[in-house]
């Protein structure tokens, strides 16, 4: 029962039940505000009937030419609302907006260890496009999968032909 609506600044006062989860980062205000200012439609929240935040998605549209695509910056669902298809709803929203913006594909990065998320993205039709080495800093650094799903504009699905070679984070945009 996902009431999706645009994320607003005030939601930040009550997203603790989502953000206290150790794998969900709480960013500085500027980060959220920048997304809200630039891509307000790409920042959606799923709200429960009681007004609690069940999860949210944060994304953007970027790239030139046939690299014009939707990107998932953050996707998170509160522990109590997992396994209810909320992440899928949020992803569907982002894909839909990207379709409307005539993007070629949607992509996202995910920790290679995050098997739950990877499995979900695979279910939603994403493929592992390539590996980005040591994308997540930490101790030790962790690789990311760059996962993609082609949208209808990419008729020949050229955007989702997996790359064999892993890339360094600094080269992500060069290939």
């Amino acid at each position: 029962m996902t009431t999706l609506r645009a994320f607003t600044c005030d939601d930040m006062f009550k997203f603790n039940n989502v953000n206290l989860d150790p794998l969900t980062e709480t960013y500085g205000l500027s980060f959220y505000m920048q997304y809200l200012a630039h891509w307000p439609e790409y920042f959606q929240v799923a709200e429960s009937p009681s007004g609690e935040i069940m999860g949210y998605i944060m994304g953007k549209a970027e790239g030139h030419g046939d690299k014009w695509h939707g990107h998932v910056t953050a996707l998170t669902v509160a522990p109590d609302y997992r396994r209810l298809g909320i992440a899928a709803d949020l992803m569907a929203w982002l894909e839909d907006i990207s379709e409307k913006k005539r993007a070629y594909f949607v992509d996202l990065f995910v920790r290679v260890s995050n098997t739950v998320a990877i499995a979900m993205y695979l279910r939603l039709g994403y493929i592992v496009y390539r590996t980005v080495l040591e994308y997540y800093s930490g101790n030790p650094d962790e690789d990311a999968y760059d996962m993609r799903k082609a949208l209808s504009r990419d008729v020949f699905k050229t955007s989702v032909v997996p790359l064999k070679q892993a890339v360094r984070p600094e080269d992500v945009d060069n290939f």
């Binding site: 029962m1 206290l20 609302y81």
Partner: protein, 1065 residues
């Protein structure tokens, strides 16, 4: 180009924060090319970063006068003025630049953005229009339009609105007519303008036009249509539209709106009872009665049952419908139940062909295995009658196929989840409340749940490591039950912490456990330990505002000054940075045409800036800073930097916003145990908690002495009124019962002791003395204040005696809190004495015929006066034995000695505080030795049951011998309790045993002749050794955490007591 090459090194140095070198480099560049203003500005930036604001400003002023036009210089200046928080100066430099180059598009754009930063909508508008005239680009035009809209929303004035908004409308209309619209945002803006003027029909027309199709990202045309129809109360259309939308979506908001439309339609058409439904298609026709709505919802449910994910909305909407019907019937006098009160079927039951309990159960059956099932249903549970609650509770157990009292071992993950939700319902419905369930049964349930928790580890083994373990919910339930026991007997808090520690040491990912640990550590007064949880939770940025209330207050109460200062600093930094950065986001919004967000950002900035927590933290930090100083001169210096204007209250009391997130403890506790936001009316008078700061504002803008006295007088009056009112109101802390309630304010300690009367008396002494330096009227106030101070010290002593006789944690906590306030009062007293002696000295110098001193020289004078009181002190023997103290000899007519006496008394009391802290630390050590692990002797059978269990409980797959062993061990344990051995010996034994446990890695037999317990020990060990060890380790850890926290608190109090060496030098 050359310039850029020369500047590069300076930029690089600034990037690396090498400010000193940057200044040198800038100087070098300026020597060669003095005309290079950019170097000058970069130098100012480096100066700013080193805190040399004044020099920086001077340089900037020079450059400003030259009105530079090059981008690099202007950008650098923009950064400087941002740092200086002088955004208006950014406008000035761009205004000057534009004057020189009026056709420079880039400069004009910067000028526009500079006006955005200062919220000057009118100038925004003009600049945007100039831009548009220069380059006919759509964004510029719409910047102008948005600037007009902001002018309209900024004012309440109807007339100006009636001019500005139509102007904005006409401007967009013109573009539409000329076919010049090319972005979705432009239509969004047009909709904003029409909505602000309540031109709803125009919005609908727009939505229906081809332009309406452009609306598809932020909101869709349909969504907006519903909003507009709602505003127009067009229920027929809303009803039909929603019926269509709900077929494909499961949006809860739409369900609610749909029901609203049904009720509005029925109220309008007066058809509560079913009409002939066969004749129409319920999906495509407007609902005229409740029956058709019910039918529509069942069709919807059928359609959605085929979906892969179960839709919660379509199930839940029936409950929503049910309670709405009930309320409707109540309001409308219950047309069908008028005849008899209870016997006839309520309308809701009739329409939905089901009772509330059945509806709840059918929802439960579908979603019982999801963790949110209770959250979804909470709202509807409140409609149940007590009998219905019983029926529901019994039915829930039945669905789960178990008897309430029996041991439960779920056979798989799903049945575990169902069992958990069943327990959560019972908890929420009040089945485990203290008045319903006795302590014995509660303890039995706690133990059963603990066993089930271990049993269920089987079903969570496959969960990803970073996921919250599903069986943790059982431990949360245990914690809630222990909380009930804690409300009855505080000692149970220890076991709460023990459980939390035990489980979170096995699973680091459950933030609920960490959050509860933070809460309970603070409750027990172990704020240092709470701080570890705080760090684990990694609270930052906006959480400092929304959750800071859980942490900062208790840190201050428990005298954890260093931690408190750190947290306060981080918090204040968050707020100031936001205030600076917020304008940047507005700039971005214009840039990207996100007009929808501009008002929102504006409101958000205000909300943060008026945060109660922000205000509170600011003041607490000022107090912390002042009270930790060790000389009167330092106090004067520090207060001078605080820009306090005593005559003016800078706090906008009516605008303050409570940004606390009170729902963060997400529990299944019954509603009366959940924290609630009570809307207290704002205080009648703004309480001024820092008067002592205010009156010291040497550089204050107040001109004459007499007006300063007036201010002091009125502040004292206000304080007295607030104090009286609060005493009259008999404010009470939130009940212990409420789990996760905001920590109690130290206000309660203030009110129950004489701290505030003391503060008021000594303030009056200052006032009287300042008004009449030659008179002696202030003495009586001083005497009175010392009397209050003594009374407070007695309170400290009383608490200390409690710690001595019974070293339980709670006594330490209370003692530390009272001592903390007491030490604060001593500091304030010393500062006040400093003020008074300064006044006296000044009066003396006047009487000796000296001309009136200037403010600037005053500070110097304090230095000289300093010797006077201390001289007197040595001459006048200070009251050494102050317990019998007749204290201030009133016969002393000289004012100097009186002050010296007060100082002497505060020193004496400070010394005693230090003695107390020392003694308390010793008591802590003893206490710790005696109680550091679980093997304590307890005389409470219920508590004993828990301890015994934790030390001996069985493994999930244990064999029978083991169980017998455990039982034997339990029996022996009980036997030992009955023995009337002297406590001391027992402790030693337990110690020995636990040490042995710690040393053991495998189970070795411990045979200790003569001790029956030892004989049984190995049997128990063989199966539960590991867990037992774990519990013991946790217990030691928790105790250590608490003790160390108290130690730090005592230590800090001792350190801050260095104030006793407070001098006037």
């Amino acid at each position: 180009m050359i310039a850029e090459r020369r500047l590069r090194p300076i930029y690089d140095l600034l990037d690396f924060n090498n400010n000193k070198k940057a200044i040198q480099e800038a100087d070098r560049v300026l020597k060669k090319s003095p005309e290079l203003d950019c170097a000058r500005v970069l130098k100012s930036l480096a100066l700013l970063r080193m805190g040399r604001d004044y020099e920086a400003e001077q340089l900037l002023e020079i450059v400003t006068k030259r009105a530079p036009c090059d981008d690099a210089t202007l950008q650098a200046m923009t950064i400087c003025f941002r740092e200086l928080r002088a955004p208006e100066k950014i406008c000035t430099i761009y205004e000057e630049a534009v004057k020189k180059e009026p056709t420079n598009e880039e400069l004009l754009t910067h000028l526009f953005m500079s006006y955005v930063r200062v919220y000057n909508y009118k100038k925004q508008q003009h600049t945007a229009m100039s831009l548009y005239k220069l380059k006919t680009k759509n964004p510029y035009y719409f910047w102008a339009v948005m600037s007009i809209v902001m002018q309209a929303s900024d004012t309440d004035d109807k007339i100006s609105k009636s001019i500005t908004l139509p102007l904005a409308e006409r401007m967009v209309k013109k573009f539409i007519d000329d076919n010049k619209i090319d972005a979705e945002q432009e239509i969004q803006l047009y909709v904003i303008i029409l909505e602000m003027q309540h031109k709803y029909q125009e919005v609908l027309d727009l939505l229906a036009s081809p332009l309406g199709n452009m609306l598809q990202s932020y909101y869709t045309s349909d969504q907006k249509k519903i909003e507009i129809l709602l505003a127009m109360q067009q229920w027929d259309e809303i009803n039909l539209l929603l019926k269509q939308l709900l077929i494909t979506s499961d949006s809860w908001q739409n369900y609610v709106l749909y029901l609203n439309s049904v009720f509005a339609l029925v109220s309008k058409n007066g058809n509560a009872e079913p009409v002939d439904l066969a004749s129409c298609d319920v999906i495509t026709s407007v609902d005229m009665c409740f029956g058709s709505a019910a039918q529509y919802l069942s069709i919807l449910a059928e359609k959605k049952s085929a979906l892969s994910h179960k839709s919660r909305g379509v199930h839940l909407v029936r409950l929503e419908f049910y309670v709405k019907l009930r309320e409707w019937e109540k309001e409308n006098g219950g047309s069908c139940s008028k005849d008899s009160s209870r016997t006839s079927t309520p309308l809701a039951d009739k329409i939905l062909d089901s009772s509330l309990v059945d509806l709840l159960l059918s929802y439960y059956k579908v979603f019982a295995a999801t963790p949110c099932v209770l959250k979804d249903l909470k709202k509807y549970l409140s409609y149940l009658s007590p009998e219905e609650v019983n029926v529901l509770s019994a039915a829930l157990w039945k669905i789960n196929g178990i008897e309430e009292e029996e041991e439960f071992e779920p056979r798989d993950r799903t049945s575990m989840m169902q069992f958990i939700s069943c327990l959560q319902f019972n908890r929420y419905l009040g089945k485990y409340n203290n008045d319903v369930m006795c302590k014995e049964s509660k303890m039995a349930l706690i133990l059963r749940l603990t066993r089930t928790y271990y049993h269920c580890e089987l079903y969570t083994a496959d969960q990803a490591p970073a996921e919250i373990k599903a069986n943790d919910a059982l431990i949360l339930l245990v914690v809630y039950l222990l909380h009930d026991l804690y409300v009855l007997e505080p000692k149970y808090i220890k076991y709460i912490l023990l459980y939390l520690h035990h489980v979170s040491s096995r699973n680091h990912y459950n933030f609920n456990l960490e959050l509860l640990s933070l809460y309970y550590y603070h409750r027990i007064g172990a704020s240092g330990a709470a701080h570890m949880c705080y760090e684990n939770l990694d609270m930052k940025h906006i959480q400092l505002d929304s959750l800071g209330y859980l942490h900062l207050g208790p840190l201050l109460n428990m005298a954890q000054f260093t931690l408190a200062a750190n947290v306060a600093d981080a918090t204040l930094k968050f707020f100031t940075i936001n205030y600076k950065d917020n304008a940047d986001h507005l700039v971005l919004s214009y840039k990207f045409g996100s007009f929808l967000k501009i008002k929102e950002f504006h409101a958000f900035r205000t909300r943060l800036n008026n945060s109660v927590h922000y205000t509170l933290t600011t003041i607490e930090k000022m107090l912390l800073d002042v009270l930790h100083l060790t000389s009167y001169r330092e106090v004067l210096g520090t207060v001078a930097t605080m820009s306090i204007n005593p005559g003016q209250d800078n706090i906008l009391w009516d605008e303050l916003r409570d940004n606390r997130d009170l729902n963060v403890f997400n529990s299944c506790n019954p509603s009366h145990m959940k924290p609630e936001r009570t809307t207290h009316p704002p205080p009648p008078l703004p309480p001024s908690s820092n008067e002592e700061d205010k009156q010291n504002g040497d550089d204050s803008t107040l001109s004459s002495e007499s007006s300063r006295l007036e201010v002091l007088k009125s502040l004292i009056g206000e304080m007295q009124q607030v104090y009286d009112k609060m005493r009259n109101d008999q404010l009470k802390p939130v009940s212990e019962e409420v789990q996760g309630s905001p920590p109690p304010s130290r206000l309660f300690f203030y009110l129950s002791h004489s701290f505030l009367p003391h503060f008021l008396s000594i303030s009056r002494a200052v006032l009287t003395l300042a008004a009449q330096p030659e008179g002696s009227g202030f003495e009586s106030h001083v005497v009175e204040s010392v009397m209050f101070l003594k009374r407070d010290f007695e309170a400290v002593e009383e608490r200390f005696r409690a710690v001595q006789t019974e070293g339980v944690w709670a006594n330490h906590s209370a003692l530390i809190q009272v001592m903390n306030l007491f030490v604060e009062m001593i500091a304030i007293t010393n500062i006040m004495c400093g003020v008074m002696s300064a006044i006296l000295k000044q009066a003396k110098s006047w009487s000796t015929g000296k001309s009136k001193e200037q403010n600037a020289k005053k500070k110097k004078k304090y230095k000289k006066t300093a010797t006077t009181p201390s001289d007197n002190m040595s001459a006048d023997s200070p009251p050494k034995n102050n317990s019998t103290d007749s204290s201030i000899p009133v016969e002393i007519k000289e004012p100097g000695p009186i002050l010296a006496n007060v100082i002497a008394i505060t020193k004496e009391l400070s010394g005693q505080i230090i003695n107390i802290t020392n003694a308390c630390e010793e008591i802590l050590d003893e206490h710790f030795q005696a109680h550091h692990n679980l093997n304590v002797v307890v005389d409470d059978p219920i508590e004993q049951e828990l301890v015994t269990y934790l030390l001996n409980h069985k493994e999930p797959d244990e064999n029978k011998t083991c169980e017998e062993g455990n039982q034997l061990a339990t029996k022996v344990e009980n036997l030992r309790l009955d023995e009337n051995k002297p406590v001391e010996t027992k402790r030693v034994e337990m110690e020995a045993e636990s040490k042995q446990d710690a040393a053991e890695t495998s189970s070795t037999s411990v045979t200790n002749a003569g001790d029956p317990a030892a004989a049984a020990a190995p049997v128990a060990h063989s199966c539960s050794h590991h867990r037992k060890q774990d519990w013991i380790t946790c217990s030691v850890r928790v105790n250590e955490n608490i003790m160390n926290s108290f130690r730090v608190s005592y230590n800090k109090l001792r350190l801050v007591n260095l104030f006793k060496s407070f001098t006037f030098e």
